[in-house]
C-alpha cells in the first residue's frame, strides 16, 4: 500500500485554535489518538543470510500480486534492515498498569523511506500494516522475525477525516522507561504502561499535523495526490502543509 502525506508543525500554544479550525473544516468532533509504539530493530545475525531476489521488478511484482502482507514485508526486510513498530491502542485508565504486550492485539507497521520528489508534490512511501491478534503473540512474532526491542514512544493527539484524507494532529514523546528483564519469550518489553501525564516534555514540544491518504491501486496515486494538493490549497493561510525532506522519515537502520 502506498501512503501519500503532507506535514506541518503546530506550536503547543496554537493547538486549541488549530483544533477549532479543523473541527469546523471537517464538520466533526476530533477523535482521540493514544497509542503506544514499541520500536524494534533487526538482530545483527539476521542480516547475515540475505535472500535478495535478483530478478528485476520481482519485488514490485510480488507486492502487486501477493495477498499475504507478511510475505511482502519479509521480502522488504530481507533487502535492507528497517525499524519496525508494534503499535497498541491504549486508554488513559491503563497508565501505570501492567499490560502484557505479547498477549494484546497489536498492529505491525513498516514504512519505507519516501521516494524522491520535489516541493510541488507530496511525500510518497510504501507502507505495510498487519494486525497481529493477541492469540498470535505479537512480541513473539517479532522474535521470530529476528527483531529485538529497543525503545518505546507514546503518541497522543487528535484525528479528523475529510473525505478520503485523514488529518492527524499528534505529538510524540519517547519514554525514559528502562527496558525490563527478559521474559519467557526472550524480549525485554516493559510490562508497565508509562504514566503519560507524568512524563516530562521538552519545552519546545510541538504537534505535528499530517494529512495522509492511502492508495491500494497504483492507478489512483495521481488521484490521491490531487486530493492532497487540493486540501493543501484549501488550508493555505491556516496551515502550511508541505512536502518534507524524505530523510526525515527514513526508517532504515544500520546493523
Amino acid at each position: 500500500m502506498r501512503e501519500l502525506f503532507l506535514t506541518f508543525v503546530v506550536n503547543d500554544d496554537a493547538k486549541d485554535r488549530s483544533l477549532n479550525i479543523l473541527e469546523k473544516f471537517c464538520d466533526m468532533k476530533s477523535q482521540i489518538i493514544l497509542q503506544r509504539q514499541l520500536l524494534w530493530v533487526p538482530l545483527p545475525k539476521r542480516m547475515q543470510k540475505k535472500e535478495v531476489t535478483k530478478k528485476p521488478g520481482a519485488l514490485a511484482k510480488l507486492v502487486e500480486t501477493s495477498n499475504d502482507p507478511m510475505k511482502v514485508l519479509e521480502c522488504h526486510l530481507n533487502r535492507l534492515p528497517y525499524m519496525l513498530i508494534l503499535q497498541y491502542d491504549i486508554k488513559t485508565e491503563q497508565y501505570g498498569t501492567e499490560v502484557d504486550c505479547d498477549e494484546t492485539t497489536a498492529t505491525l507497521i513498516w514504512t519505507d523511506i519516501p521516494i524522491p520528489g520535489d516541493s510541488q508534490q507530496v511525500n510518497d512511501r510504501d507502507r505495510v500494516q498487519i494486525e497481529i491478534k493477541a492469540e498470535d503473540h505479537p512480541c513473539s512474532k517479532m522474535n521470530d522475525l529476528k527483531y529485538r526491542y529497543v525503545g518505546e514512544i507514546i503518541k497522543d493527539g487528535y484525528r479528523f477525516v475529510h473525505g478520503n484524507i485523514s488529518i492527524d494532529l499528534v505529538r510524540t514523546v519517547q519514554t525514559s522507561a528502562t527496558a525490563g528483564s527478559k521474559n519467557e519469550q526472550g524480549n525485554n518489553v516493559p510490562k508497565i504502561v508509562p504514566d503519560y501525564d507524568k512524563i516530562e516534555r521538552q519545552p519546545e514540544s510541538r504537534y505535528v499535523m499530517s494529512a495522509k491518504i492511502d492508495v491500494e491501486d497504483k492507478k489512483l496515486i495521481q488521484q490521491g495526490k490531487d486530493e492532497l494538493l487540493a486540501l493543501q490549497k484549501e488550508l493555505q493561510g491556516s496551515f502550511n502543509l508541505k512536502f518534507q525532506d524524505r530523510f526525515l522519515f527514513d526508517t532504515r537502520v544500520r546493523v
Binding site: 500500500m1 464538520d27 466533526m28 477523535q31 484525528r159 477525516v161 473525505g163 478520503n164 484524507i165 485523514s166 491518504i213 492511502d214 492508495v215 491500494e216 491501486d217 492507478k219 489512483l220 488521484q223 490521491g224
Partner: protein, 665 residues
Amino acid sequence: MSSIPVGFTISLRSWPAADKVNNNLALDSVVARINAERANRGGFRELTKERLQLEIEEEAAEEDDESEEEGEDAPVDRAKEIQATKVTLIQNIDMILDSARSAQSFATLALSKDMPQVVDSARSSNTLLGGEREPNHFWEHIQKTVPMKTLGMDKMQGSLVTYARKEENKSVARGWKIQNLSKTVDSILAAATRLETEMELETKYWDQVLSIDDGGWAMCHMQYEKHTLGVRFGFMEGAQRNLSMAALRRGPDGDILLDAGLDSEPKAIRVRIQGHHSFASSSVPKLYEDGSPVQFRIQQARNTVFATELWQEITREARNLLDFGVAFEGDTVVCPFTPGKTLILELIPLKDSGFVLPHPDNKMADGISVGLQLLLSLAHRQNHHRRTRQPVPLRASKPDTQPYSLIRPLLTRLNHQKSVESMHKLITSTITTLKSTGIEASYSQLARAAPVHPNAAPTERVILSLMDRLEMQTKLQIIPGIGLDIISRTDMFPIASTIHKITLSPPDSPLRDLCPPPEFDIDNWDHVEDYILFANSCSLATYILNLQKLSPFPSQSSHSQPSVPPSFSEEEWQPSVNPNAILKHVKDTGVEKHLTLEFEKAPAEEVLCRARWEMVGDEDIFEPGSGNKRGSENGSYEWRSVGANMDDSDEVQVVVRSLAEVAGI
C-alpha cells in the same frame, strides 16, 4: 526701540519643543530659561502663582501712570500733528493731479484716431494751481512710447439691465434661494424621517435575526450573495446538505422574508392505512404562512427538506422491494400491512393536507410516520459514522451505496410479529388439546435480546434492537422428558422473513430416534407446523408406552357403552414402524391392534388429536364369549382444543376420556 524695556533678555533659541516619545517638555532647558529671565526676581525658585499675579497688577498700574504723563505733553504734539496733516494733504493733491493728467492723456490717445486736433492741445495742460500752463510730462512719455491712433473706441449699446430689472432679478434670486432652501429643509426632514423609519425596520430585522441565532440556528453568508445573511437549516449528513440554506431578506415592514429558493413549498409525509372501505391517516404538521414567526418558518423549511429526502429514499428503496408486495400507485407507495389492510405512503403539500377524520388506526399511522422519521435519522447517524471513521485506502472498485432501510425494517417487524402470533396460536391450541387428553403439557415464549452494538449510542441501540435480529424462543414441554425448543429469528436481510430452528429438549429425548427435527433452519411455516404436530403425535405414542410400564394391565372393560373402546388385557403395547403408532397382539388370535395418534389442524385455528385404532389380521376371528366379530372394533376418538370431543359416530361426547383410557391402560 524705546518701547523695549531695559534689561529684557532676548533669547535667540526657540522655546523647547515637547519630546515626541514621552510628550514631556525638556524641563532642564525650561528651568534655565526661567532662571535667566527672572534672575533679579528670585529665578525659578521664587516663581509662584501669587507672585505672578502681583507682577501683573504692578505692570497694569505702571501703564496707567504712563497714559497720564502723555496727557501733559498734548499741546506740544498738536503743532506737529497739524504740520503732518498739511504734508499729507499736499501729497493727496499731487496724487489727484497726476491722476487727472493720466486720465487726460488717455482720453487724448483715444481721441487721436478720430480727432487728431486734440493731440496738439494736450501738449500743455492747465494746472490746478495758479492757471499757468505747465508741460504734461506724462503725455510726453506716452507720445514717445505709444504711437498715435492706436487706441480706438466706439459707442456700445447701453445695457438693458436697468435698475428696476436688477432689483427684479435680485428679488427673483431671493425667491429662488428661499424656495431651494425650503426644498432643502423638506428633503432633510424627509431624510431624517426615512432614516428613523429605516432604523426601526432595521432594528426589527436584526432583533429577529438575533432571535434566530439564539434559537441555535447556524447563520452564514449566502454563497453567491456575500452581503446577504442566510440561515442553514439542512441536515449535515443528509442528501441536500449544500442546498438547505435560506436567505434572510428584509421585508418592507422589517419582517424577515425567508427566501429558500424555487421549490420551497412546505411538504410532509402522510401515512395512511387502508382497511375495508376506510382510511386511517397520520397527522400532518400545521402550515405556517409568511406572517408567522420566522423560527417556525425555518423549522417548517427544515421539516420540508427532511420529508423530501425521506420520500426520495422511500421511493428508492421501494424499487428493490417489489418482490415483497410493495408497489407504486400514482404518486404513492403501497405496502402490505396486515391481512386486509395496506399501508399507503405519500408526499403531500401541507396546504393540501386537509382534516384528519377520527379512526382507530390513526395512532398506528402516527407511529409508523414517526418510525420512518427515526429510521431516516438513524441513516443520517450511520452516514456520520461512515464519514468520520478512518478512511479506507483508495481502490478501483467503489463500494455500492445501498438505499436506506426504511420500509424493510417495517416489513421485518410485521413478518416477525406474524410468525410469533402463528406460533402462539398453534402452541396454545396444541396445549389445550393435550390437556384434554389428560396430559399436563406447558409452554413458554420469550423474546430474546438482540446483540448489543458496543460502540453505538444508547438511542441507536434502542432503534437497532427493534429492527435487527428479532428473535423469539418457544419452549414446549409435551410430556416429562420430551419437549421442543424452537428459536424463531427474523432478519432484515436478505428476505426479511422468519426462519425457525427446532431442537429437542433434552437433546437425548426419545424423539431423537423417532422423529428427529431437521438439522437446517426452516423458513416455511407450514413445515414447522407439520413437524410440531407430528412430534406431538410421536410423543403421545411414547407416552402410552411409558404409561403401561408404570401401571398394571387394565381389567376387561364393560360393554355398557359400546362407544368406549374395548379393554385389552394381558397384551402390551409396543412400538410400530410408524413412530406415531403403536400395536399389540391380541392373545390367541393372529390379530394385531394398531393405535395411530394424529394431530391435525382444524378450521378456526383449532388443533385436534385423533386416536384411531384398527384390527389388522383375520376378520373371521371372533372375540371369545361375545360372538362379536373383531373387525367391528375399529374406531377413533378425537380431542379438540375447544373441549368438545367426538367419537367415531361423530356425536359430541360430554364425558372426556383420557388417552390412557382410550388406550386401555
